[in-house]
Symmetry: C2
Subunit: 491 residues, 2 copies
Amino acid sequence: MAKTVSPPELALSGRPPGRGLAGWLYSELRSAILTGRLTRGTRLPASRDFARLHGIARGTVVAVFERLQAEGYVSSRVGRGTWVNHEMLRTAAPHAAGAAPEFARRIIAGYARPKALRGLAATPPRPFQMGKPALAEFPARVWARLAARRARRLGAWLRLADDGRGYRPLREALAQHLGLTRGIHCHPDQVSLVSGTQQALDVLARFLVQPGEPVWMEDPGYFGAAVALQNAGAQLVPVPVDREGLSVAQGLEQLARPRGIYLTPAHQFPLGVAMSAARRLQVLEIASRVGAFIIEDDYDSEFRFEGRPLPALQSLDRGSTVILVGTFSKTLFPALRMGYVVMPSSLTDYFLAFQHRTQLCSVHLDQSILCDFIVEGHLGRHIRRMRNLYAGRLACLAESARRQLAGLLEIDAVRAGLYTAAYLENGMTSADAERAAFALEVDALALDRFTFKREDPRGLLLGFAAFDEKSLRQGVIQLAQALEPRTARRR
Amino acid sequence: MAKTVSPPELALSGRPPGRGLAGWLYSELRSAILTGRLTRGTRLPASRDFARLHGIARGTVVAVFERLQAEGYVSSRVGRGTWVNHEMLRTAAPHAAGAAPEFARRIIAGYARPKALRGLAATPPRPFQMGKPALAEFPARVWARLAARRARRLGAWLRLADDGRGYRPLREALAQHLGLTRGIHCHPDQVSLVSGTQQALDVLARFLVQPGEPVWMEDPGYFGAAVALQNAGAQLVPVPVDREGLSVAQGLEQLARPRGIYLTPAHQFPLGVAMSAARRLQVLEIASRVGAFIIEDDYDSEFRFEGRPLPALQSLDRGSTVILVGTFSKTLFPALRMGYVVMPSSLTDYFLAFQHRTQLCSVHLDQSILCDFIVEGHLGRHIRRMRNLYAGRLACLAESARRQLAGLLEIDAVRAGLYTAAYLENGMTSADAERAAFALEVDALALDRFTFKREDPRGLLLGFAAFDEKSLRQGVIQLAQALEPRTARRR
């Protein structure tokens, strides 16, 4: 027979002001059970007695007992009263706050930071950070107006059908926009909306690559793609990049039958070169011949300041080997979290099914706002404005560098993108130059961060898009100080 | 010496009306090169001659030649003219539209649809579909007002700092909300915003599991979790679910030292039972002892129509083994694409680093709207309203079923969630009942879809949240017809 709890054992701590009676009683009893003050098998006093003892309405006590019973802390049977559940265990002793449980220690032990990010610390916005476009120039009022209009229609809009690829009118507008600006031929059903380049690369790598399959990777190249491919088990085959982009001949020498090829043909990351037409045709021919896919990362392609934008590699592809990835993070703003994948038509349904395993997509309010933004001509206008702005900023950077950095650092001749590569002429390694710049509060990433097998290209990456000309000039002066030979600086 | 092209070889097709001269000429020449009409080494006429021959301004011709040169189609040197690039290759013969390239055929051959989705076709919204809450009842006007207010401040807002976990004030509001409604103890830094449950499960599985590691999985259980875990290489160990949730004793018999445990303690998917307190403590004790993680999928927990919501398993966890996953897809609307992960504090930084490899998160406008929605009390109000509404809908379904489905199908006694399990009493298998229902335009998923090893539970899942009482009653009548024994129906 279970023993009945005597009043002292059930001393309840004072009820905090404002706390409801039932909630307080429930948590007192629950805590008494969990901490073992009420051991298993212990019988609680009858609700009538309990109520009288503690000066509580009986209905409240009954409700609390029922709740404890519903949650399994106590059992009860007519005529036998209520007792602390026999199966109840004590919980483990509390860990010290923040102490890592065993499974967490395993994960921590296995963690390695990607080379591209190693030793990087967060800094306030300052030249020559790379991640952001000129957010101050974004037409936020236009966006706000479109957002408010769409939001007012949210009720009806919430019940739209959704096939998982994203808002159909946006995919139509995007297919047309890509046709006009990038020469891409695609049906809106080939377009899937995703939440940015990294998500696209991650899901594509897992969709396209089986563990152990070799994939050509530009060297130096985009580390986000390398991480995504390696996460999927790909064997990376670094292929050197020269002035015409990835060297197809060297790729063939290293591994003649890749299962896939990752490329940034419009504006190679990080060197900035555009892939030549001859190389483009070669790489398409090889992909068709060996049965490989090509991921064309079209990042940054909108911003060429000399000549016109090069059409996408996909526009030349007759073999349906190219999968195009693009993003609005740089043309509009990163917080939009919107990118797209253009898939060969034979794979669209399979890709959609695979995406559903990793992330249930749905039609999203921002998609409808972006749709209006494109259809009403704001996107084209914004890109043209930014192209002029960025061209001016790059010209300012190049001109300042010519004056201040002669013999130390030479800005590459490519006039495109939101950042530029620059090559050291002072004998420093990339890493030393990065450190020296950082010490004078200038962010200039070492090109060496983005190499796989090749030696240090001895250069820095300078982002210019997000900074006005005054900041850029000031940044160049700081950078010149950082890169001056020590002997000169000591004088 | 390269031969010069004679005029007939360069016959240009007529310029379409409205097409700019330079664009037209560029695409004609490019196409002539790509199709091989202009073979490599062929020299183009001098720009002056070319302009005269075709009646085009010389400046236009020069600009087009320069563009072709910039893109690598032609080469040019002073005194030697312009010729089609030697390295230029022919492109592969065009594939038939939609024909699958080799890499695509490999993927298609390896594709298998998850059992839970096999043979499912899309249908119009109708009882008893499960995916959606009562979208018509969502306070869309309130949301629109908050959205417009936030969108007006977009300009300043875009430049907010962002640590990758999501909008800090929302994480604070959420930590407080989870404390009040789910008994969860957490710091806002333990909360990461994600784009829904499936993304959370996918990234958690990859973060927590090494290929081949065994994970206990509820049987029957949530197929989305199974897919995510299997994608990450986990070895699933199905453990039967009974009236108290996952049977810990049977789990221990099958595999005593799992590396992880996946649970839906609040409202088991698909059976709907709540995990008993005794089982909760057992499973926590085991996880601490063997060094396993627990993923607590808190889906649906807000909607209990009898008694109060059970506190989350995480609220009992002294060993920091529980990782909680939740979503706003069911409490608010799926298109919000917003979920959250509450990580033990020892792992928050590592989890964030891992997330960056799969998806660069950023502070998102919807996050600020949701923040206002919570802080201004709309979330609590909406959940209370929906709880009443759904309780009424479930009561209506249960009452209709009692009258119409006696001897055919019995609605489970659990009063919670947006759907209910119901058990067949007419001798049909789950799959037969699903087919019969579908034939009469009623969607009722077979419980058998969600089993791993155990035998068919002979039941259906009925979603009720998104349907008004009239539709539910009509659905029950249809369902009764579908489930009646054939002999009875023939009479």
